[in-house]
Symmetry: C2
Subunit: 647 residues, 2 copies
């Protein structure tokens, strides 16, 4: 037998609350200062008038009260059942929210009386007597003037000696309605079966300009610190350092990933651990932990976060191999298994065994690594290859760290199939690397960004568009020359709120280790380079970062809409946020002048004609709804980023 419902009156249905990810198993994300928009189907049998609110509770110490704001029945005219509302999120951490709905019996009664009066029905004694009872109950709920006003209305409504018209008029009086709306009877309200949750991150989880550099090529941590004012002037928000830990000697890789290293070869920073320590040590060649502390502090004073690499793997010389041999994969003969993905081999590193008997000890140790650096002021972690580790591990680790430190941001360095990319976002990663590096044509870019901006994953997956990485020198860059670098830079900086470049990009570095490879020749992964902040692309970088900070539409992925151009070598897209509009047009052709039109659709809500101020060139164009001529010249005028001025 079916269980008997708790009470007979739960006739209101609240269904399909949104956003809802995997039935509430995972949380949507927002950043501090954003607005959280919710919706639900709310209805019941019969014709009663319903009211609904969204209720929410901010995280934080002490008892934060539940607050609420009304939901609006958005498709009532179309006989739909959708209600929507929103609330601002102004604090880091896990928020809770729910939907509550109830029958407004007085409004339902007014509706009945109005329909009958409109139909000319004159005998309404019984209906008015019923309403007077409801009014008396409402007066009980009110105080002071409100109570008096309601009671006075009840007197008129129940006065059988007065004309029906007078009594109906009193019942429907707008002033009375306002007073009654302020004193609802919610004693039989219905809520969602389960309150939902929401993760609120720092703004940097959504919007930021990243610069990646190997400290050893810049004079160690102190050398990096010396570059910070210049990086801040360039408009960077995050400086990301590959692993800064001691590097193993055993099986150390030589230049260009050769198997034998010479005595002066520094090895790959991702071969973590040596005689000087493991994941919580600083490589002596880079400096000391105090240097790191100072670097973090100086950066923060300049508005920059230092991002560290979290790479869960150990060189043969990592202390854990002797302290915790049980944490590693072994062959039956007792030898350790180095990392590999046949036929690829990573002879200089060993993976931990997440399934080992002491997995709890291993997991705790890994979390403690993160907490160690958090204690040293680091709040951003770029996580190496998270898709080769258990998803439940990440959910636990990120959840554990952020429960105490909701300011911490984890960027997933995942390049794998789509389901795993999404799942890592659901597991808690605040940002992720993307397929952007391999999306070249206007169709590919539009399809990919549209999916990120409008698919369900927009709720939990935030892209970070790196134009290159130490592992990814795409054929497009290798073959395209400076104009292609400019084009890709503009695309990354305007398509995605978070984007990044790995040093060398600004100097047009583009020689692969061999034709067709995505590895750089003489890769910095295995060698020390002499770096300086002097690449010819830096003025454009500075300009783009400045534009990004001024133009809030560029700081959000939502509201991105691709526009027709009549020329596949031109890609155009509008971004809108809180009444502001930015339209970007980029040439994908590094060799030829390209002409076309940007079709501004009516749906953007712009006036018939308007000023389009190009933030790159300073020019101002007269644009309009419809077709607008554009002409882009490689390097000279690689793009328009126009701010729409509405008179």
């Amino acid at each position: 037998m079916e269980p008997v419902p708790r009470r007979a009156s739960a006739r209101i249905l609240i269904e399909h609350p949104t956003p809802l990810i995997d039935c509430g198993r995972h949380l949507p994300k927002r950043t501090v200062g954003e607005t959280f928009e919710v919706g639900a189907d709310i209805f019941r049998d019969g014709h009663e008038v319903l009211r609904a609110v969204v209720r929410w509770k901010a995280p934080g110490p002490g008892k934060r009260p539940w607050q609420e704001t009304p939901l609006r029945h958005v498709d009532a005219a179309a006989k739909g059942v959708r209600w929507e509302g929103r609330f601002p999120v102004d604090a880091l951490g896990r928020w809770r929210w729910t939907v509550e709905a109830w029958v407004d019996e007085l409004a339902s009664w007014r509706d009945e009386v109005r329909r009958k009066a409109d139909a000319g029905q004159d005998d309404l004694d019984s209906e008015l007597a019923e309403g007077a009872l409801l009014l008396r109950a409402a007066a009980e709920r009110a105080k002071g003037d409100a109570r008096t006003a309601i009671a006075t209305a009840a007197d008129v409504v129940e006065d059988t000696t007065a004309p029906t018209r007078t009594r109906v008029g009193a019942a429907l009086d707008p002033g009375l309605v306002a007073v009654l709306d302020a004193h609802p009877d919610r004693s039989r309200s219905v809520k969602l079966a389960r309150a939902q949750e929401l993760d609120v991150d720092p703004e940097r989880a959504r919007f930021g300009s990243w610069y990646e550099l190997f400290p050893r090529s810049w004079g160690g941590l102190k050398g990096v610190e010396a570059q910070l004012p210049a990086l801040a002037d360039l408009g960077f928000d995050v400086v990301y350092l590959p692993p800064i830990h001691p590097i193993g000697v055993t099986n150390r890789k030589g230049p260009n990933n050769t198997l034998v290293a010479g005595p002066d070869d520094p090895g790959s920073p991702w071969a973590v651990g040596g005689v000087d320590g493991g994941h919580t040590a600083v490589h002596p060649d880079l400096g000391t932990i105090e240097d790191l502390d100072r670097l973090v502090a100086t950066a923060r004073a300049l508005g920059i976060e230092i991002a560290l690499d979290f790479a869960i793997q150990c060189s043969a010389d990592h202390p854990w191999l002797t302290e915790h041999p049980e944490w590693f994969n072994r062959r039956p003969d007792g030898t350790l298994k180095y990392a590999e993905n046949p036929p690829k081999k990573y002879q200089d590193i060993y993976n931990v065994n997440f399934d080992c008997e002491d997995w709890r000890g291993l997991w705790d140790a890994l979390r403690d690594v993160v907490l160690f650096w958090v204690e040293h002021g680091v709040t951003v972690f770029r996580v190496d290859n998270p898709h080769t580790k258990p998803v439940p591990f990440w959910e636990w680790l990120i959840g554990s760290v952020r429960a105490e430190h909701p300011e911490v941001i984890f960027l997933a360095e995942a390049f794998t199939h789509r389901a795993m990319m999404k799942t890592l976002g659901k597991a808690g990663f605040n940002q992720s690397y993307t397929y952007f590096t391999w999306k070249y044509s206007s169709w590919e870019l539009a399809e990919y960004v549209t999916e990120l901006a409008t698919g369900e994953e927009r709720e939990y997956f935030r892209p970070n568009f790196f134009v290159n990485t130490p592992d990814i020198l795409t054929a497009e860059l290798a073959d395209g020359g400076p104009a292609k670098f400019a084009s890709r830079l503009i695309l990354a900086a305007t398509l995605s709120p978070s984007y990044g470049i790995y040093s060398g990009f600004e100097s047009y570095e583009a020689t692969p280790v061999q034709p067709g490879s995505e590895e750089y020749l003489d890769s910095e992964k295995y060698e020390v380079r002499n770096r300086a902040l002097d690449g010819p692309l830096l003025p454009l970088v500075e300009q783009l970062n400045r534009i990004r900070r001024q133009q809030t539409p560029l700081q959000h992925l939502a509201g991105t809409r691709f526009l027709d151009t009549d020329n596949p070598a031109l890609i155009a897209f509008a971004k809108q946020h809180e009444g502001r509009t930015v339209i970007t047009v980029v040439s994908l052709d590094p060799e030829h002048i390209q002409e076309g039109v940007v079709v501004v659709p009516y749906e953007l809500g712009l006036p018939p004609s308007f000023k389009a101020h190009d933030l790159l060139s300073g020019d101002t164009f007269d644009w309009r709804i419809g077709r607008n001529y554009v002409r882009l010249v490689p390097l000279e005028q690689p793009a328009h980023i126009v701010e729409i001025e509405v008179a």
Copy 2:
């Protein structure tokens, strides 16, 4: 802090199981003899080979064992994560199912060895030693010949004196693989967090031809019984009777819904209850309960089910008004509130108060009404106006009745907004009335049926296309004449597996009570009519019902696809089921000859040319992929229903 996972090894993710309605809150439906298709995203980190099965448990007395069948990784080639499988459902009631997945460590190991061997790696001693251990463990799980075969293979694989090639060959031997696949290690398998459920109904819940008649116009229950052989010959599966209970005298409605009834006026059958009893009594003018028992038995012997009306409302003379006055809505002055939907009034009936203090008593009494008729052999109920009663009530009532009597079918007479229509299906109704009566154009029909056939609601909402009802004489019929009747009949009978006609339709009855009204003039709702089974449309009805029984594609909504015709007056659609194809072309124009083409798309999987055998005319056409000429003549050749013969 996040909870620590139960065990470290739960690395496999099983997500997005389908079908899943409202996160498992509601159940998908199937009928006995169908196949239930399930799917899930199944993946984990790393490159291990996964295996998965769907497991299911049939309902029924005694302990039914869990059974299982493998899931197939359907998009492996596209690097997707989707797995699919199916199982047959051959018993009524609630089935349970889940998905189970595990790592096939031996297959993963073979994959590694194969990739390394293919890459020319010769030193595989360590890998082969690891595999030998896995093989020894597999031998432990096996018995007899299998154990011997695996152990023998392990001997070769671990024999370091043998050539690597020989050892690898033994590891990859297809015969060994087959034996190993039959002895999986599922000790660390993962299941869905919660087993899912599935409702299996009788075939009649999906497929059936309905005929509605008022027994009082056919000589009462005995008179109806006399008609059953003819109705069976016409191919009807269900005969639906409006309420057969005593009718109230107080405020009885007269002809054409007038407020004053004459002494001989019979009243509306929906004004249930009088001095002779309420919802469990038979109106004396119609016969006795024994007559009903005999009617049900005779019908069943002819393959027909008798459907009763379940109308939860009471005339002023219903026994419950005196026995249970607390079950009804009252005004403050103590008077009962009759039913109304301002400005419409139903002065002859009173609604029950589902929220009254004794709601449990009321709900139980209503369920007992259904169980009373179930005890008398009735298994089909047409429920009057369910959308004005609480949804939780229906979920409880239908669940309660079907837990003991899963053969019972509830048809929802709901004509209301879409969300409520769907919700009633989710709450348990096995069928529903639809908007078909008001869908006229080819575009409207295609859009509506496509949504029913392909939207999520196909899992729980089954349409029953009535061409007319005592309440619905559409303007299209009133104005269209006999050819329109034929057209609508063919559409209903071929578009929807369940369809119905209300008597009079076959005689082209089409006079509204006033122009523009959907009420019939001299409606049978308020008068006794002299009915006979002799309408001129009956030969077409008989032919359609015969075709429907022969052509399984017409018995399913899934697999319906609309075809282009180049003429909006012609609607064409293909239905496919288990390798059979039926294409229907219907003219929507009752006045003119219409010509056009039926575009048979490549996607139907038919050969380039084929025979199209018209089941209405007996003609055979040579049709092909692409455009096929058709010409339809009102009344003479109103449609083609062609069975595709593939040589």
